[in-house]
Protein backbone atom coordinates (compact mmCIF):
# COMPACT_ATOMS: atom_id res chain seq x y z
CA UNK A 1 0.00 0.00 0.00
CA UNK A 2 1.24 3.46 -0.83
CA UNK A 3 2.43 5.60 2.08
CA UNK A 4 -0.52 7.84 2.94
CA UNK A 5 0.58 9.75 6.05
CA UNK A 6 1.33 13.48 5.91
CA UNK A 7 4.72 14.17 4.35
CA UNK A 8 7.03 17.02 5.27
CA UNK A 9 6.91 20.13 3.16
CA UNK A 10 10.45 21.59 2.91
CA UNK A 11 10.95 25.24 2.14
CA UNK A 12 13.97 27.01 0.69
CA UNK A 13 15.71 27.35 4.07
CA UNK A 14 15.20 23.78 5.23
CA UNK A 15 15.70 21.91 1.92
CA UNK A 16 19.34 21.03 2.82
CA UNK A 17 18.11 19.45 6.10
CA UNK A 18 15.62 17.25 4.24
CA UNK A 19 18.22 16.43 1.55
CA UNK A 20 20.54 15.39 4.39
CA UNK A 21 17.92 13.03 5.80
CA UNK A 22 17.67 11.37 2.39
CA UNK A 23 21.45 10.77 2.60
CA UNK A 24 20.93 9.42 6.15
CA UNK A 25 22.55 12.43 7.77
CA UNK A 26 20.95 14.46 10.56
CA UNK A 27 22.01 18.07 10.00
CA UNK A 28 21.76 20.75 12.68
CA UNK A 29 22.38 24.47 12.44
CA UNK A 30 25.60 25.38 14.23
CA UNK A 31 26.27 28.99 15.27
CA UNK A 32 30.04 29.29 15.99
CA UNK A 33 30.00 32.62 17.87
CA UNK A 34 27.84 31.15 20.65
CA UNK A 35 29.05 27.57 20.13
CA UNK A 36 25.37 26.70 19.86
CA UNK A 37 23.40 24.05 17.96
CA UNK A 38 19.86 25.10 17.14
CA UNK A 39 16.75 23.20 16.01
CA UNK A 40 14.23 23.80 14.49
CA UNK A 41 15.49 26.18 11.81
CA UNK A 42 15.89 29.87 12.51
CA UNK A 43 17.85 32.49 10.58
CA UNK A 44 19.19 33.88 13.88
CA UNK A 45 20.89 32.40 16.93
CA UNK A 46 18.64 33.03 19.92
CA UNK A 47 21.68 33.16 22.24
CA UNK A 48 23.68 36.04 20.73
CA UNK A 49 21.53 37.07 17.72
CA UNK A 50 24.29 36.08 15.31
CA UNK A 51 23.20 35.26 11.76
CA UNK A 52 26.40 33.36 10.87
CA UNK A 53 25.88 29.63 10.89
CA UNK A 54 26.62 26.38 9.07
CA UNK A 55 25.04 22.94 8.76
CA UNK A 56 26.83 20.33 10.89
CA UNK A 57 26.07 16.65 11.07
CA UNK A 58 24.72 15.45 14.40
CA UNK A 59 26.13 12.26 15.90
CA UNK A 60 22.47 11.24 16.20
CA UNK A 61 22.69 10.24 19.87
CA UNK A 62 20.48 11.41 22.68
CA UNK A 63 17.94 10.46 25.30
CA UNK A 64 14.17 10.44 25.63
CA UNK A 65 13.19 13.77 27.21
CA UNK A 66 9.53 12.86 27.36
CA UNK A 67 7.01 10.71 25.50
CA UNK A 68 3.28 10.03 25.07
CA UNK A 69 0.91 7.50 23.47
CA UNK A 70 -1.43 9.06 20.94
CA UNK A 71 -4.94 7.61 21.01
CA UNK A 72 -6.88 10.42 19.33
CA UNK A 73 -7.29 10.23 15.55
CA UNK A 74 -6.64 13.61 13.94
CA UNK A 75 -5.78 12.38 10.42
CA UNK A 76 -7.31 9.24 8.87
CA UNK A 77 -3.94 7.84 7.78
CA UNK A 78 -2.96 7.09 11.41
CA UNK A 79 -5.96 4.86 12.05
CA UNK A 80 -4.08 1.54 11.85
CA UNK A 81 -1.25 2.86 14.06
CA UNK A 82 -3.30 4.12 17.02
CA UNK A 83 -2.14 4.13 19.74
CA UNK A 84 1.33 5.19 18.62
CA UNK A 85 4.31 6.50 20.58
CA UNK A 86 5.51 10.08 20.20
CA UNK A 87 8.63 11.38 21.86
CA UNK A 88 10.83 14.39 22.36
CA UNK A 89 14.49 13.41 22.11
CA UNK A 90 17.22 15.48 23.72
CA UNK A 91 20.21 15.30 21.36
CA UNK A 92 23.66 15.24 22.94
CA UNK A 93 24.46 18.43 20.95
CA UNK A 94 21.69 20.26 22.89
CA UNK A 95 18.60 20.67 20.73
CA UNK A 96 15.41 18.73 21.38
CA UNK A 97 13.52 17.08 18.50
CA UNK A 98 9.93 15.87 18.27
CA UNK A 99 10.03 12.39 16.74
CA UNK A 100 8.72 8.81 16.72
CA UNK A 101 10.31 5.96 18.66
CA UNK A 102 10.69 2.69 16.76
CA UNK A 103 12.01 -0.80 17.46
CA UNK A 104 11.06 -0.63 21.13
CA UNK A 105 8.07 -2.08 23.01
CA UNK A 106 6.09 0.65 24.75
CA UNK A 107 6.63 -0.99 28.17
CA UNK A 108 10.34 -0.20 27.85
CA UNK A 109 9.99 3.48 26.99
CA UNK A 110 10.93 5.89 29.76
CA UNK A 111 12.32 9.36 30.34
CA UNK A 112 16.11 9.23 30.13
CA UNK A 113 16.28 6.18 27.82
CA UNK A 114 19.34 6.38 25.55
CA UNK A 115 18.44 6.45 21.86
CA UNK A 116 20.07 6.87 18.46
CA UNK A 117 18.70 8.15 15.17
CA UNK A 118 17.02 5.69 12.83
CA UNK A 119 16.51 6.93 9.27
CA UNK A 120 13.17 5.70 8.01
CA UNK A 121 12.87 5.88 4.20
CA UNK A 122 9.10 6.20 4.16
CA UNK A 123 9.01 6.84 0.37
CA UNK A 124 11.61 6.94 -2.40
CA UNK A 125 11.84 10.68 -1.88
CA UNK A 126 11.31 11.16 1.85
CA UNK A 127 13.27 10.01 4.90
CA UNK A 128 12.11 10.74 8.45
CA UNK A 129 14.52 10.99 11.44
CA UNK A 130 13.06 8.54 13.96
CA UNK A 131 14.83 7.18 17.03
CA UNK A 132 15.47 3.70 18.48
CA UNK A 133 17.17 2.34 21.60
CA UNK A 134 20.94 2.95 21.50
Amino acid sequence: MAYDKPLPNPDENTQPFFDGLKDHKLLLQYFPSADHYQYPYSDRCYKDWSTDWEWRESAGNGEVYTWVRMHQLYHPSWKAEIPYTLAVVQLDEGPRMHTNLVNVPVEDVHVGMRVKVHFDDVTDEVTLPKFEPA
Binding site: K5, P6, L7, Q38, R69, V111, K130
Partner: protein, 396 residues
Protein backbone atom coordinates in the same frame (compact mmCIF):
# COMPACT_ATOMS: atom_id res chain seq x y z
CA UNK B 1 6.29 45.73 52.38
CA UNK B 2 3.52 45.98 49.81
CA UNK B 3 3.41 48.34 46.83
CA UNK B 4 1.36 51.58 47.13
CA UNK B 5 -0.95 50.40 44.31
CA UNK B 6 -2.19 47.49 46.46
CA UNK B 7 -5.95 47.79 46.90
CA UNK B 8 -6.12 51.02 44.89
CA UNK B 9 -7.94 49.41 41.95
CA UNK B 10 -10.74 46.87 41.72
CA UNK B 11 -12.92 44.72 39.51
CA UNK B 12 -16.32 46.36 39.93
CA UNK B 13 -18.37 44.52 37.32
CA UNK B 14 -18.56 40.93 36.12
CA UNK B 15 -20.55 39.57 33.18
CA UNK B 16 -20.67 35.83 32.44
CA UNK B 17 -22.78 34.73 29.47
CA UNK B 18 -24.44 31.38 28.98
CA UNK B 19 -21.57 28.91 28.45
CA UNK B 20 -20.80 25.82 26.39
CA UNK B 21 -22.71 24.45 23.43
CA UNK B 22 -24.58 27.66 22.75
CA UNK B 23 -25.06 27.86 19.00
CA UNK B 24 -26.19 30.43 16.50
CA UNK B 25 -24.10 33.36 17.74
CA UNK B 26 -20.65 34.66 16.88
CA UNK B 27 -17.94 35.91 19.24
CA UNK B 28 -19.07 39.55 18.90
CA UNK B 29 -22.56 38.61 20.10
CA UNK B 30 -21.19 36.85 23.18
CA UNK B 31 -18.91 39.85 23.85
CA UNK B 32 -21.95 42.13 23.66
CA UNK B 33 -23.86 39.98 26.13
CA UNK B 34 -20.93 39.89 28.56
CA UNK B 35 -20.40 43.66 28.64
CA UNK B 36 -24.15 44.27 28.97
CA UNK B 37 -24.22 41.95 32.00
CA UNK B 38 -21.06 43.46 33.51
CA UNK B 39 -22.28 47.06 33.18
CA UNK B 40 -25.59 46.05 34.77
CA UNK B 41 -23.75 44.18 37.56
CA UNK B 42 -21.69 47.28 38.34
CA UNK B 43 -24.71 49.58 38.16
CA UNK B 44 -23.07 51.69 35.47
CA UNK B 45 -24.32 53.14 32.19
CA UNK B 46 -23.01 52.17 28.81
CA UNK B 47 -21.50 55.62 28.35
CA UNK B 48 -19.41 55.23 31.51
CA UNK B 49 -17.21 52.70 29.71
CA UNK B 50 -14.14 54.56 28.47
CA UNK B 51 -11.71 51.68 28.04
CA UNK B 52 -11.96 48.46 26.03
CA UNK B 53 -9.44 45.60 26.02
CA UNK B 54 -10.19 42.44 24.05
CA UNK B 55 -8.83 38.88 23.89
CA UNK B 56 -10.39 36.84 21.08
CA UNK B 57 -9.58 33.23 22.04
CA UNK B 58 -9.17 30.52 19.42
CA UNK B 59 -11.57 32.18 16.99
CA UNK B 60 -8.99 34.97 16.82
CA UNK B 61 -6.67 32.46 15.16
CA UNK B 62 -9.47 31.26 12.87
CA UNK B 63 -10.22 34.79 11.62
CA UNK B 64 -13.66 35.17 13.21
CA UNK B 65 -12.67 36.49 16.66
CA UNK B 66 -13.32 39.84 18.28
CA UNK B 67 -10.83 42.64 17.75
CA UNK B 68 -10.78 46.43 17.51
CA UNK B 69 -14.01 46.58 15.41
CA UNK B 70 -15.86 45.42 18.55
CA UNK B 71 -15.85 49.10 19.54
CA UNK B 72 -18.10 49.93 16.60
CA UNK B 73 -20.35 46.90 17.19
CA UNK B 74 -20.85 48.00 20.80
CA UNK B 75 -21.15 51.70 19.95
CA UNK B 76 -18.52 52.75 22.50
CA UNK B 77 -17.90 56.41 21.68
CA UNK B 78 -16.02 57.56 24.79
CA UNK B 79 -12.94 55.36 24.64
CA UNK B 80 -9.70 56.65 26.07
CA UNK B 81 -8.08 53.20 26.13
CA UNK B 82 -8.37 50.50 23.45
CA UNK B 83 -6.33 47.39 22.68
CA UNK B 84 -6.43 43.85 21.33
CA UNK B 85 -4.10 41.88 23.58
CA UNK B 86 -2.58 38.45 23.31
CA UNK B 87 -0.27 36.44 25.51
CA UNK B 88 -2.50 33.36 25.05
CA UNK B 89 -4.00 32.12 28.33
CA UNK B 90 -2.16 34.81 30.30
CA UNK B 91 -3.99 37.58 28.42
CA UNK B 92 -6.93 37.96 30.80
CA UNK B 93 -4.59 38.72 33.71
CA UNK B 94 -2.58 41.05 31.48
CA UNK B 95 -5.73 42.95 30.41
CA UNK B 96 -6.81 43.49 34.02
CA UNK B 97 -3.28 44.60 34.92
CA UNK B 98 -3.07 47.09 32.05
CA UNK B 99 -6.54 48.36 32.96
CA UNK B 100 -5.58 48.72 36.63
CA UNK B 101 -2.54 50.84 35.85
CA UNK B 102 -4.58 52.93 33.40
CA UNK B 103 -7.39 53.74 35.84
CA UNK B 104 -4.91 54.33 38.68
CA UNK B 105 -3.17 57.00 36.64
CA UNK B 106 -6.28 58.62 35.20
CA UNK B 107 -6.02 57.32 31.64
CA UNK B 108 -9.53 55.87 31.91
CA UNK B 109 -12.25 55.42 34.55
CA UNK B 110 -13.99 52.15 33.65
CA UNK B 111 -12.15 49.64 31.47
CA UNK B 112 -14.07 46.65 30.10
CA UNK B 113 -11.81 43.62 29.64
CA UNK B 114 -13.49 41.02 27.43
CA UNK B 115 -12.66 37.45 26.51
CA UNK B 116 -15.06 36.03 23.94
CA UNK B 117 -14.93 32.86 21.87
CA UNK B 118 -17.29 30.77 19.75
CA UNK B 119 -15.28 27.87 18.32
CA UNK B 120 -17.96 25.18 18.73
CA UNK B 121 -20.09 24.54 15.68
CA UNK B 122 -23.25 22.48 15.82
CA UNK B 123 -22.32 18.93 14.75
CA UNK B 124 -18.56 19.58 15.08
CA UNK B 125 -16.29 18.21 17.81
CA UNK B 126 -14.22 20.11 20.34
CA UNK B 127 -11.18 18.39 18.84
CA UNK B 128 -12.03 19.84 15.44
CA UNK B 129 -12.19 23.29 17.00
CA UNK B 130 -8.82 23.02 18.74
CA UNK B 131 -6.90 20.29 16.87
CA UNK B 132 -5.98 22.49 13.95
CA UNK B 133 -8.40 20.85 11.52
CA UNK B 134 -8.91 22.96 8.46
CA UNK B 135 -5.89 25.14 9.07
CA UNK B 136 -3.21 25.41 6.38
CA UNK B 137 -0.43 22.84 6.73
CA UNK B 138 2.95 23.93 8.07
CA UNK B 139 6.14 24.12 5.99
CA UNK B 140 9.82 23.61 6.82
CA UNK B 141 10.75 21.69 9.95
CA UNK B 142 7.33 22.38 11.48
CA UNK B 143 5.89 20.14 8.76
CA UNK B 144 7.63 17.21 10.47
CA UNK B 145 5.08 17.45 13.28
CA UNK B 146 2.10 16.03 11.32
CA UNK B 147 4.54 13.67 9.56
CA UNK B 148 5.35 12.13 12.96
CA UNK B 149 1.69 12.28 14.06
CA UNK B 150 1.86 15.22 16.51
CA UNK B 151 -1.41 17.16 16.64
CA UNK B 152 -2.95 19.71 18.98
CA UNK B 153 -2.37 21.25 22.40
CA UNK B 154 -3.35 18.00 24.15
CA UNK B 155 -0.14 16.41 22.87
CA UNK B 156 2.17 19.23 23.98
CA UNK B 157 0.74 19.23 27.50
CA UNK B 158 0.74 15.43 27.68
CA UNK B 159 4.47 15.52 26.90
CA UNK B 160 5.06 18.02 29.71
CA UNK B 161 2.87 16.00 32.08
CA UNK B 162 4.72 12.74 31.39
CA UNK B 163 8.05 14.29 32.29
CA UNK B 164 6.59 15.69 35.51
CA UNK B 165 4.89 12.38 36.40
CA UNK B 166 7.98 10.23 35.82
CA UNK B 167 10.20 12.65 37.70
CA UNK B 168 8.00 12.81 40.81
CA UNK B 169 6.17 9.49 40.68
CA UNK B 170 2.78 11.14 40.10
CA UNK B 171 0.19 8.68 38.74
CA UNK B 172 -2.94 8.81 36.63
CA UNK B 173 -4.95 8.18 39.77
CA UNK B 174 -3.41 11.38 41.16
CA UNK B 175 -4.50 13.35 38.10
CA UNK B 176 -7.95 11.83 38.56
CA UNK B 177 -8.12 13.18 42.12
CA UNK B 178 -7.79 16.72 40.68
CA UNK B 179 -10.49 16.06 38.10
CA UNK B 180 -12.97 14.60 40.61
CA UNK B 181 -12.32 17.40 43.12
CA UNK B 182 -13.11 20.10 40.61
CA UNK B 183 -16.28 18.36 39.47
CA UNK B 184 -17.54 18.39 43.06
CA UNK B 185 -17.25 22.17 43.02
CA UNK B 186 -18.89 22.41 39.58
CA UNK B 187 -21.98 20.60 40.88
CA UNK B 188 -22.74 23.75 42.90
CA UNK B 189 -21.86 26.25 40.15
CA UNK B 190 -24.87 27.37 38.08
CA UNK B 191 -22.51 28.70 35.38
CA UNK B 192 -20.83 25.28 34.95
CA UNK B 193 -21.40 23.07 31.93
CA UNK B 194 -20.56 19.72 33.61
CA UNK B 195 -22.49 19.35 36.86
CA UNK B 196 -23.04 15.62 37.31
CA UNK B 197 -20.80 14.21 40.08
CA UNK B 198 -17.77 12.11 39.10
CA UNK B 199 -15.93 9.22 40.73
CA UNK B 200 -12.33 8.10 40.29
CA UNK B 201 -13.75 5.08 38.48
CA UNK B 202 -15.45 7.41 35.97
CA UNK B 203 -12.10 9.11 35.51
CA UNK B 204 -10.24 5.87 34.79
CA UNK B 205 -13.02 4.72 32.46
CA UNK B 206 -12.95 7.89 30.38
CA UNK B 207 -11.20 7.29 27.07
CA UNK B 208 -7.56 8.01 26.47
CA UNK B 209 -6.86 11.13 24.43
CA UNK B 210 -3.07 11.28 24.56
CA UNK B 211 -1.70 9.03 27.29
CA UNK B 212 -1.13 10.07 30.14
CA UNK B 213 -4.30 12.15 29.56
CA UNK B 214 -7.78 10.69 29.72
CA UNK B 215 -10.68 12.76 28.40
CA UNK B 216 -11.33 13.89 32.00
CA UNK B 217 -7.82 15.36 32.26
CA UNK B 218 -8.64 17.86 29.51
CA UNK B 219 -10.53 21.14 29.72
CA UNK B 220 -13.81 21.81 27.99
CA UNK B 221 -14.16 23.89 24.86
CA UNK B 222 -16.84 26.56 25.33
CA UNK B 223 -18.72 29.19 23.42
CA UNK B 224 -19.31 32.25 25.58
CA UNK B 225 -17.76 35.43 26.95
CA UNK B 226 -16.66 36.97 30.23
CA UNK B 227 -16.32 40.71 30.82
CA UNK B 228 -14.69 42.28 33.86
CA UNK B 229 -14.81 46.03 34.46
CA UNK B 230 -11.81 47.58 36.18
CA UNK B 231 -11.93 50.92 38.01
CA UNK B 232 -10.31 52.69 40.95
CA UNK B 233 -11.04 51.55 44.50
CA UNK B 234 -12.54 54.96 45.20
CA UNK B 235 -15.11 54.63 42.40
CA UNK B 236 -15.73 50.91 43.06
CA UNK B 237 -16.70 51.53 46.69
CA UNK B 238 -19.98 53.25 45.84
CA UNK B 239 -21.15 50.99 43.03
CA UNK B 240 -23.93 48.41 43.04
CA UNK B 241 -21.89 45.22 43.59
CA UNK B 242 -19.08 44.52 46.05
CA UNK B 243 -15.65 45.19 44.55
CA UNK B 244 -12.90 42.60 44.23
CA UNK B 245 -9.89 44.74 45.10
CA UNK B 246 -6.68 44.08 43.19
CA UNK B 247 -3.83 43.52 45.61
CA UNK B 248 -1.14 41.95 43.48
CA UNK B 249 -0.20 41.62 39.83
CA UNK B 250 2.63 39.81 38.09
CA UNK B 251 3.74 38.13 34.90
CA UNK B 252 6.38 35.54 34.01
CA UNK B 253 7.07 34.26 30.53
CA UNK B 254 9.65 31.47 30.22
CA UNK B 255 8.83 30.94 26.53
CA UNK B 256 9.53 27.75 24.69
CA UNK B 257 13.13 26.85 23.92
CA UNK B 258 13.60 23.28 22.66
CA UNK B 259 17.12 23.00 24.02
CA UNK B 260 18.93 21.20 26.84
CA UNK B 261 19.61 24.47 28.65
CA UNK B 262 15.88 25.04 29.31
CA UNK B 263 13.73 22.67 31.35
CA UNK B 264 10.19 22.12 30.10
CA UNK B 265 7.36 20.43 31.96
CA UNK B 266 8.58 20.77 35.52
CA UNK B 267 8.60 24.59 35.60
CA UNK B 268 6.25 27.38 34.54
CA UNK B 269 6.12 31.17 34.58
CA UNK B 270 4.16 31.08 37.85
CA UNK B 271 7.36 31.17 39.89
CA UNK B 272 8.35 34.62 38.66
CA UNK B 273 4.82 35.97 38.20
CA UNK B 274 3.86 34.80 41.68
CA UNK B 275 6.91 36.33 43.34
CA UNK B 276 6.13 39.68 41.72
CA UNK B 277 2.46 39.59 42.71
CA UNK B 278 3.12 38.42 46.28
CA UNK B 279 5.59 41.28 46.73
CA UNK B 280 3.13 43.87 45.41
CA UNK B 281 0.39 42.53 47.69
CA UNK B 282 2.68 42.14 50.70
CA UNK B 283 1.56 38.54 51.18
CA UNK B 284 3.09 35.09 50.78
CA UNK B 285 1.91 31.58 49.93
CA UNK B 286 0.96 31.02 53.60
CA UNK B 287 -1.62 33.84 53.35
CA UNK B 288 -3.51 32.46 50.35
CA UNK B 289 -7.11 31.41 51.18
CA UNK B 290 -8.42 30.42 47.75
CA UNK B 291 -6.70 29.51 44.47
CA UNK B 292 -8.26 29.89 41.04
CA UNK B 293 -5.71 28.33 38.73
CA UNK B 294 -5.64 27.99 34.96
CA UNK B 295 -6.44 24.31 34.47
CA UNK B 296 -6.29 23.49 30.78
CA UNK B 297 -5.27 20.03 32.08
CA UNK B 298 -5.28 18.40 35.52
CA UNK B 299 -1.48 18.38 35.40
CA UNK B 300 -1.37 22.17 34.93
CA UNK B 301 -3.03 22.63 38.33
CA UNK B 302 -0.40 20.53 40.16
CA UNK B 303 2.43 22.32 38.35
CA UNK B 304 0.93 25.73 39.22
CA UNK B 305 0.36 24.91 42.91
CA UNK B 306 4.05 24.08 43.26
CA UNK B 307 5.32 27.09 41.32
CA UNK B 308 3.35 29.45 43.60
CA UNK B 309 5.13 27.91 46.58
CA UNK B 310 2.00 26.22 47.96
CA UNK B 311 3.66 22.78 47.91
CA UNK B 312 7.15 21.44 47.32
CA UNK B 313 8.00 20.22 43.80
CA UNK B 314 6.17 16.95 43.17
CA UNK B 315 4.04 17.26 46.32
CA UNK B 316 1.01 19.27 45.16
CA UNK B 317 -1.10 16.12 44.97
CA UNK B 318 -0.71 15.85 48.75
CA UNK B 319 -3.23 18.72 49.09
CA UNK B 320 -5.96 16.51 47.58
CA UNK B 321 -7.96 13.82 49.38
CA UNK B 322 -7.34 10.19 48.42
CA UNK B 323 -10.93 9.93 47.25
CA UNK B 324 -12.42 13.36 46.59
CA UNK B 325 -15.81 11.80 45.75
CA UNK B 326 -16.17 10.81 49.42
CA UNK B 327 -18.67 13.35 50.83
CA UNK B 328 -16.63 13.47 54.06
CA UNK B 329 -13.44 14.41 52.19
CA UNK B 330 -12.20 17.93 52.74
CA UNK B 331 -11.46 19.53 49.39
CA UNK B 332 -8.55 21.90 48.78
CA UNK B 333 -9.75 25.45 48.12
CA UNK B 334 -8.56 25.28 44.55
CA UNK B 335 -10.71 25.93 41.46
CA UNK B 336 -13.82 26.36 43.52
CA UNK B 337 -16.14 26.79 40.52
CA UNK B 338 -15.01 23.62 38.75
CA UNK B 339 -12.45 25.42 36.59
CA UNK B 340 -11.89 24.89 32.90
CA UNK B 341 -12.13 21.14 33.43
CA UNK B 342 -15.77 21.22 34.53
CA UNK B 343 -17.27 24.73 34.37
CA UNK B 344 -16.30 26.66 31.23
CA UNK B 345 -13.22 27.37 29.15
CA UNK B 346 -12.78 31.12 28.78
CA UNK B 347 -8.97 30.96 28.81
CA UNK B 348 -7.63 33.24 31.60
CA UNK B 349 -11.09 34.64 32.38
CA UNK B 350 -12.23 31.31 33.87
CA UNK B 351 -10.02 31.66 36.98
CA UNK B 352 -10.52 35.44 37.24
CA UNK B 353 -14.32 35.23 37.03
CA UNK B 354 -14.50 32.64 39.82
CA UNK B 355 -11.92 34.65 41.78
CA UNK B 356 -14.19 37.72 41.64
CA UNK B 357 -17.20 35.64 42.72
CA UNK B 358 -15.29 34.20 45.70
CA UNK B 359 -13.81 37.58 46.71
CA UNK B 360 -17.31 39.05 46.65
CA UNK B 361 -18.70 36.21 48.70
CA UNK B 362 -21.34 35.50 46.06
CA UNK B 363 -20.42 31.85 45.45
CA UNK B 364 -23.63 30.44 46.97
CA UNK B 365 -23.29 26.79 47.95
CA UNK B 366 -19.68 26.69 46.81
CA UNK B 367 -18.60 29.89 48.62
CA UNK B 368 -15.45 29.50 50.71
CA UNK B 369 -15.89 31.26 54.02
CA UNK B 370 -12.41 32.71 54.44
CA UNK B 371 -11.77 34.66 51.25
CA UNK B 372 -9.35 37.44 52.18
CA UNK B 373 -6.67 36.46 49.67
CA UNK B 374 -7.72 34.95 46.33
CA UNK B 375 -4.87 33.94 44.02
CA UNK B 376 -5.74 33.73 40.29
CA UNK B 377 -3.47 32.47 37.52
CA UNK B 378 -3.41 32.64 33.74
CA UNK B 379 -1.23 30.39 31.65
CA UNK B 380 -0.61 30.22 27.91
CA UNK B 381 1.22 28.27 25.24
CA UNK B 382 2.63 25.11 26.79
CA UNK B 383 3.50 26.78 30.11
CA UNK B 384 5.17 29.54 28.02
CA UNK B 385 3.31 32.58 29.38
CA UNK B 386 1.89 33.31 32.82
CA UNK B 387 -0.07 36.05 34.60
CA UNK B 388 -1.06 36.48 38.25
CA UNK B 389 -3.77 38.47 40.00
CA UNK B 390 -4.29 38.58 43.75
CA UNK B 391 -7.83 39.70 44.65
CA UNK B 392 -9.38 40.58 48.01
CA UNK B 393 -12.75 41.71 49.38
CA UNK B 394 -10.80 44.22 51.48
CA UNK B 395 -9.39 47.51 50.19
CA UNK B 396 -6.55 47.25 52.69
Amino acid sequence: MSDPIRGQTAICGLGITEMGKVYGHDASWFAGESIRLAVEDAGLDKDDIDGLLVNPGITGMMGTGISIPLQGYLGLRNLRLLNHMNSYGATASAMVQYAAFAVHHGMANYVACIFSDAPLQQGGSAGAAYGGAGRRGPTGMASLMPAFGFYGANTSYALAARRYMERYGVTNNDLGRVSVTQRRYAVDNPHATMRQPLTLEDYHNSRWIVEPFHLLDCCLVSNGAVCTIVTTAERARDLKSSPAYIWGMGQGHPGNFPHAEVEVGTTSGATIAGETAYKMAGVGPEDVDICEFYDCYTYTVLRTIEDYGLAKPGEAIGLYPEDPADPEAELPRINTGGGQLSSYYMWGMTPISEGVIQARGSGGDRQIEKNDIVLCSGNGGTLDTHGTLILSPNAN
